[in-house]
């Protein structure tokens, strides 16, 4: 055993196991005789075709050279012209904005967990961006004094790391330099992955943590012969850490957790099956994984969330999504350290908030319900943002209570009217169908200057209240029961269409009363009443954590396709069916995968399935093949199955999602698909090689490999303008950069 054994990076998941040593000795002698061409098989000299190892050997220097050139190429492709376009592209408007929020420490609401945006904020801060830019909408030009490039470079660096990670994963799985190179190239030269890596988005961060988790896991797995060694622990801990990071960027991180989870279960299952393992050892194995892959990630996730809440301590755009108590912890919020009247009296001006988590303010505005939707009266909605249209004055029935009147508190069981301050109309309900939830009654604003009719009367019933109890801000929940129809004012979970400004529907529910019909007074403006401090309502961290998650969950469920949004269907993604525009106008960037690679993936998947069935039937029907070939095949097939599993876990769940989907959701799955394809290509090439006589086998092999590599390069050369931006006429024009490349009508360039 000479230096040759060190050449290979640490012993991997080689199926050959006990035969490995013998192999190495053999290749050693052979390698010395064919020093000049280490990457060839050298079987001519050996003469014993079936006995030669089927992987091409490679020495350490070459390995690092190949690896290094891939990394350099990754840097070049990812960072080339990264400052262009000098305007906001697509979702940069969200994530740049959110990065700014972290820098400014203002509170906001988003459906994704915080890590990705915190990293964007951090990278901006470190590269001299001070959070002053508004990131208002896509297409807006960056002012010259705003350093947005720093954040783009940060994302691009994570994008760069995808190539070595992909290379490393395939290397660990197969120890085949050819497969690893192809995997690297598939990721390097895919235009879609490239484009996603170049902007201020969560996707590069997400993809980085997904591949990092996968890499750490296969690395960890490669040490399974030396369990509980320091390296073993190191990689196990790193796996847990990257998993935690993955899910802290987007909940899609769950899929890689599932991949690692299933693999771990399988691993434990195999350990259990080995009767040499004592029960104590098994328990140790189990506990080690439970601690590092379950408990550690949970703790990290909570810590990251804690940091998020710690940073965002000033009032901002997200306040309204949270409960009144939550808001009182935000600096600058009306409720923060505020003292305001605690009780509500007739004549007080109040805001009323729905008590379900994520509930919104009772709202009205100068717009009527459109023709055909109930009575054509003024709309009443629920609105999450703070606004003067959320203000109401509490009045007695038939009396226009004024602020000058002597104080009389609103109590449980009182019948009140609520007058909308801005429009001086009263909250009203009547026997018309509500706009969306048609079995409820419509709620409107009606009347003028506070005068109204019997249908403006609502009874205040404090939840669990006793007669005479006073309605208190924030603390007491109550229902507003319409006396005329015996129904309760309710915020439903549905969004009104355009005419209702996408605000939430408010109805009067004649059926069972639940939390959707509970309201609480949030703000009280009344000079007559004594003020009290709100500090004692503040929730603790755990309460905040739970509330944030419920609000996020609701937000995610609410991401239904809107009327005027381009959505895409999961079936379109692997086909590279249509792109997603990142930037239009003079400088066009279109998120579209490299079609050669995408379609190649599909073909290879079909090829693999056929090979798999063919070989399965073959071995069932008892064709004998040399042990070595069988070992080789089973090692490749298990790598393929694992990678295709990763692909499926990151792709198939989208079929079941009702929320709005975009093409960029596919790219984590694409990475797995790319690695899978690399292994299949390598396997296929080896199979082809074995079919030919030994004289021409290597020529065929190298020719085929050359054609494939050239194809990958050339396709990237053709489609790279998608990523680096095109201008001028569209592809149908003879003078266009991409003339003749519009192979599908659905491609929009």
């Amino acid at each position: 055993m000479s230096e040759k054994t060190d050449i290979k990076p640490p012993k991997g998941k080689r199926q050959k196991g006990n035969r490995g040593e013998e192999d190495n000795v053999e290749t050693d002698t052979q390698a010395s005789s064919t020093e000049s061409k280490t990457t060839t098989l050298g079987q001519h000299e050996r003469g014993l075709f079936w006995k030669t190892p089927l992987d091409l050997e490679v020495n350490k220097a070459k390995w690092w050279m190949v690896f290094g050139s891939l990394v350099v190429a990754a840097f070049v492709t990812r960072l080339h012209k990264i400052e262009l376009p000098r305007h906001i592209c697509w979702d940069e408007t969200h994530f740049g904005k959110m990065g700014s929020y972290y820098i400014n420490r203002t509170f906001f609401f988003d459906v994704h967990p915080p890590l990705g945006k915190m990293l964007i904020g951090l990278s901006g801060k470190l590269t001299g961006y001070n959070g002053e830019f508004s990131f208002e909408k896509p297409g807006m030009t960056y002012p010259p004094d705003i350093n947005y490039v720093g954040m783009r470079i940060f994302c691009a660096l994570l994008g760069v790391s995808l190539i070595p990670l992909g290379f490393g994963i395939v290397w660990e799985l197969t120890h085949s330099i050819i497969a690893s190179i192809i995997a690297g190239l598939f990721i390097l030269f895919d235009t879609g992955t490239l484009i996603l890596s170049r902007y201020i988005l969560l996707d590069p961060i997400m993809m980085f943590f997904i591949l990092a988790s996968t890499y750490c896991y296969v690395k960890f797995y490669s040490y399974n012969a030396s369990s509980f060694s320091p390296q073993w622990w190191l990689w196990l801990t790193l796996t847990g850490t990257s998993l935690a990071c993955a899910i802290s960027v987007k909940f899609v991180g769950l899929f890689v957790i599932l991949l690692v989870g299933f693999s771990t279960i399988k691993e434990l299952w195999d350990l259990l099956g080995n009767k040499e393992n004592s029960i104590v050892l098994l328990v140790k194995h189990f506990l080690a994984r439970a601690v590092c892959l379950i408990i550690l990630p949970i703790i990290l996730y909570i810590i990251l969330f804690g940091i998020h809440l710690k940073i965002l301590n000033e009032t901002g755009t997200g306040d309204g999504f949270y409960s009144s108590a939550f808001q009182s912890t935000l600096k600058g919020n009306k409720l923060h350290g505020a003292s305001m009247p605690e009780d509500v009296a007739y004549g007080s001006t109040i805001t009323v908030k729905n008590s379900q988590t994520g509930g919104a303010y009772l709202h009205s505005h100068f717009h009527l319900y459109p023709e055909g939707i109930g009575a054509k009266q003024q709309q009443v909605t629920a609105y999450s943002h703070k606004d003067d249209n959320n203000l109401w004055i509490v009045m007695k029935e038939n009396v226009n209570s004024k602020i000058e009147d002597p104080v009389e508190y609103v109590r449980h069981g009182d019948v009140v009217r609520l007058m909308h301050v801005a429009t001086t109309r009263n909250l009203h309900s009547h026997k018309e169908k509500a706009p969306l939830t048609q079995r409820h009654h419509q709620v409107t604003c009606y009347g003028m200057n506070g005068t109204g009719d019997y249908h403006d009367n609502f009874q205040v019933e404090i939840v669990g209240g006793v007669p005479g109890e006073v309605v208190k801000a924030v603390k007491k929940k109550f229902t507003l029961r319409h006396l005329g129809q015996n129904c309760a004012v309710t915020q439903t979970e549905r969004k009104l269409p355009k005419w209702g400004w996408d605000q939430m529907e408010v109805t009067c529910n004649p059926h069972a009363i639940d939390v959707k019909s509970y309201w609480n007074v949030e703000e009280v403006r009344d000079s007559r009443l004594p003020s009290v401090s709100f500090a004692n309502h503040a929730p603790n961290f755990i309460q905040k954590f739970i509330e944030s998650h419920i609000v996020m969950g609701k937000g995610n469920r609410g991401l239904k396709p809107k009327e005027d949004e381009a959505t895409s269907q999961p079936w379109q993604w692997p086909l590279d069916w249509s792109g997603q525009s990142f930037s239009g106008g003079k400088f066009r960037v279109l998120l579209l995968g490299n079609p050669i690679l995408f379609w190649g993936n599909l073909i290879l998947m079909a090829v693999f399935i056929m090979l798999f069935i063919y070989d399965g039937v073959k071995s069932k029907r008892g064709t004998t093949q040399p042990q070595e070939i069988r070992d080789y095949r089973s090692s490749r097939f298990s790598a393929c199955m694992w990678l295709i599993g990763g692909w499926g876990l990151h792709y198939i769940p989208f079929w079941t999602m009702g929320r709005v989907l975009y093409f960029h959701h596919y790219f984590p799955a694409y990475l797995f698909n790319a690695m899978f394809s690399a292994v299949v290509i390598e396997y296929g090439l080896t199979c082809i090689r074995l079919c030919f006589s030994k004289h021409i086998a290597m020529n065929v092999y190298h020719t085929a490999l050359g054609v494939i590599l050239a194809g990958i390069f050339y396709s990237f050369y053709l489609f790279s303008p998608l990523a680096y931006g095109t201008s001028g006429p569209t592809a149908l024009d003879v003078n266009a950069t991409m003339y003749g490349l519009k192979w599908l009508d659905t491609w929009d360039f």
Partner: protein, 746 residues
């Protein structure tokens, strides 16, 4: 045998006996037959009792009864469910003299004398009763005890949800019957593996495949059970490949016969049903609007009635309405209102006249096809037909303005180009030139020819200045556009949303009479046009499978899959106008809960065995283990394939979606009880006394449980039949869960 006769005599006390059969030895086929017949008879008597009451429309009878009527009247209708179930109702209705004239308006409407309510409701009742002996047969085929088979039958009989569902014109009981039949086919087929290619072997395969086809043709939910069986067949075949004594040729025969019987046969059956479907439904009806003009024209009295006597070829000077060919019907429309000066978000518009796609017929849908070089709107003599590639202008009939497009963002989808009717505004910064030439691009010119024909030619309008295509964006205009559909142009030519066809047509006449106008060209046939079966099939199938259920997600009785296993939500099927009598779909709470418990028990025990086996500890004798696994594969598998897919659906669901699964759940329940009994027997096999005592105790416990089940069944039955008068107090007592929603007042 004597136990069975006792059962016949007294229905109410049967629960004590069901359990009593302890024989573990297989009985003769005849004996099984007798038991099954008896079970069938008992169930039928139970299910059929007062089935004709209420003589009013109950729940989805509103749809299924209505569709059955349409079959009898040969009137086309459109439904998302496949046809077999409705055809059966129609067949029975037809045989009993139903004329299909009854109007289905709302639940609770009284049937008139012409509707054979009893006979039509009898089909589900018979199918629901056949489920019981079939389940029995499944247990026998799986090699479980006869006592267990009877127990399973008893459980199925005593479930309120299955009872309710079998009593009205609903689909589930038929589907369940075919599911079980398919399962039996599979089990028998497995047993015949030593006699391949025998007639019995083929029969079993055919039963398996055909039952799948039937089940699938009743409701698409039937697909799942068949899928499970298909997977099992493939797995068995995979194992068969190991048998090297079978030559490769025979192996191919094995493969092909399975393929033909289990895949091709059901598909043929399904397609054949649609053939009958179209053969029956030849007349136009109120549902036509869902289909394309071409489809409608193939129906008697459909579009043909409107377009009768119209010239077939469109010429310069033709007046036409232009219909959007795909999706929800709408017609190219304009009206004397302009686009608002500014849209939301301060974006400006051209302020020209609105062009929309309107969902209803309207005089404003009429357009005149004009030759760009001629000012005359009259049709020449002879008419000059418009051909593929010709340039036309489209003049809006009512307002006399030309269809126009230009580089201004469309009102809602601002990345597309606006379409308007051109008004020659003279703005301070100059006037905008009209861009109103359109190229007619006939898409299906290979089959329909180069000249533009009404209805059959599918046309694109390509805007000459920008090469963009006229299409609907799928978005709705705001209030100022009267919530009509937005029309825009787009660069992407080949979209379905860009296909149009001319529908109504007349030649512009200058003072001539109508007859003369129609004498000018070939008239379109007054007979329905011929559309091939495959074209019809494809169109309907695509519509059925891809139509999103636009259902009310917040339905009062809607529930989620998680509500089902423990019976959290009922479904009200019917209530008399005075609320005194009601029908609800609700399961036997005791059965639902113990069933769920049994499922969990099975999984836990399976995990336990598997973990132990992985350490090479065999707790069970091999035969018992095999049987345990078989229960998991077939029954637990059957439950899962009928339950899990509902978690992935984003639409309103009801308790009745759980019923195919619940049948398997009950069978698992019986099988788990059987397994516990076997384990008790096995553990105590060396101690006679302990053996006897434990067995006796267990059987006694099961008997007690059975009587409780029967008691519950009887208690809730008043809510299934709608024949008992219920006071609010009584209802209150039956309200087992807070979340059950009974009707206390209307």
């Amino acid at each position: 045998m004597e136990k069975k006769t006792e059962k016949l005599s007294s229905e109410d006390s049967k629960c004590q006996k069901e359990k009593g059969l302890q024989s573990t030895h297989s009985k003769t086929v005849l004996a099984h037959g007798c038991v099954q017949t008896t079970l069938f008879a008992i169930t039928l008597v139970l299910r059929e009792r007062e089935i004709e009451k209420p003589n009013e429309i109950v729940f989805d009878e509103l749809f299924f009864g209505k569709y059955a009527g349409f079959y009898i009247k040969n009137t086309f209708f459109y439904d998302l469910n496949p046809p077999l179930g409705k055809m059966l109702f129609a067949l029975v209705g037809y045989l009993c003299g139903y004329t299909g004239d009854f109007v289905y308006e709302n639940i609770g409407k009284e049937y008139d004398a012409n509707v054979p309510v009893w006979q039509m409701r009898l089909i589900p009742a018979i199918c629901g009763s056949l489920v019981v002996p079939l389940a029995y047969q499944v247990f026998i085929e799986m090699g479980l005890r006869q006592g267990t088979a009877v127990l399973a039958s008893f459980i199925i009989i005593c479930d309120n949800s299955l009872h309710t569902q079998s009593r009205f014109m609903l689909m589930e009981s038929m589907m369940q019957m075919f599911n079980l039949l398919s399962l039996i086919g599979y089990l028998k087929f497995r047993k015949l593996k030593n006699r391949p290619f025998s007639p019995a072997w083929f029969t079993c395969l055919a039963v398996m495949g055909l039952s799948w086809g039937c089940s699938l043709s009743i409701k698409y939910g039937g697909f799942f059970t068949g899928l499970l069986i298909l997977v099992l067949v493939v797995r068995d075949f995979w194992e068969l490949l190991d048998d090297k004594t079978i030559p490769d040729f025979t192996m191919w025969l094995h493969f092909l016969s399975r393929l033909v019987m289990v895949v091709v046969l059901p598909v043929l059956f399904y397609v054949g049903l649609f053939y009958i479907h179209f053969a029956l439904l030849t007349k136009s009806g109120v549902y036509d609007g869902n289909m394309s003009s071409k489809f409608q024209a193939s129906l008697e009295g459909g579009l043909a009635a409107i377009t009768r006597g119209q010239p077939q070829h469109i010429a310069y000077g033709s007046q036409i309405t232009i219909r959007h060919s795909y999706g929800k019907p709408c017609w190219l429309h304009s009206h004397a209102f302009n686009y608002p000066k500014y849209y939301e978000g301060k974006r400006g518009s051209s302020q020209q006249q609105q062009v929309t796609c309107y969902n209803f017929k309207d005089p404003n849908n009429w357009w005149v096809v004009k030759h760009p070089d001629k000012d005359d709107l009259n049709v020449d003599e002879p008419p000059v037909h418009v051909k593929h590639g010709d340039i036309v202008q489209l003049l809006h009939g009512k307002t006399g303005r030309y269809l126009n497009s230009h580089d201004v963002g469309a009102p809602v989808s601002n990345h597309h180009q606006e379409v308007s009717c051109y008004i020659d505004f003279n703005f301070t910064n100059g006037r905008v030139p009209p861009q109103n030439w359109w190229k007619v691009d006939i898409i299906n010119r290979d089959s329909e020819g180069d000249t533009w024909k009404i209805i059959t030619s599918q046309v694109r309008f390509i805007h000459l200045n920008t090469s963009q295509v006229l299409k609907t964006s799928g978005k709705i205009l705001p209030e100022w556009g009267f919530s009509q559909n937005e029309v825009v142009t787009d660069t992407n030519i080949g979209q379905e949303t860009a296909m149009w066809n001319a529908e109504e047509h007349r030649y512009t006449k200058s003072g001539e009479t109508a007859e003369k106008a129609s004498n000018k060209g070939n008239l379109i046939p007054t007979q329905p046009t011929q559309l091939s079966f495959w074209e019809k099939f494809k169109e309907l199938q695509v519509k059925m499978l891809y139509t999103r259920h636009d259902a009310d997600l917040d339905h009062r009785y809607g529930s989620t899959p998680l509500d089902w296993p423990l019976m959290y939500k009922n479904v009200a099927y019917w209530a008399a106008s005075n609320v005194k009598r009601q029908i609800h779909l609700l399961g036997n709470p005791l059965l639902y809960c113990t069933g769920t418990l049994a499922l969990l028990t099975y999984c836990a025990v399976l995990l336990f065995y598997l973990l132990r086996r992985q350490r090479d500890i065999r707790d069970l004798p091999e035969a018992m283990w095999q049987q345990f696994v078989l229960v998991g594969e077939l029954l637990l598998g059957g439950f899962l394939v009928n339950f899990v897919p509902y978690f992935m659906q984003d639409r309103t669901m009801f308790l009745h979606h759980y019923l195919p699964g619940v049948l398997f759940k009950f069978m698992v329940l019986a099988a788990v009880i059987d397994h516990v009994y076997s384990v008790l027997n096995y553990i105590t096999q060396h101690n006679r006394l302990a053996n006897q005592v434990s067995k006796f105790t267990f059987v006694a416990a099961v008997l007690v449980w059975c009587s409780a089940v029967y008691h519950q069944f009887d208690k809730y039955r008043v809510l299934n039949q709608g024949t008992t008068i219920l006071t609010p107090d009584h209802l209150q007592k039956l309200q087992w869960r807070e979340s059950w929603d009974f009707v206390y007042s209307l």
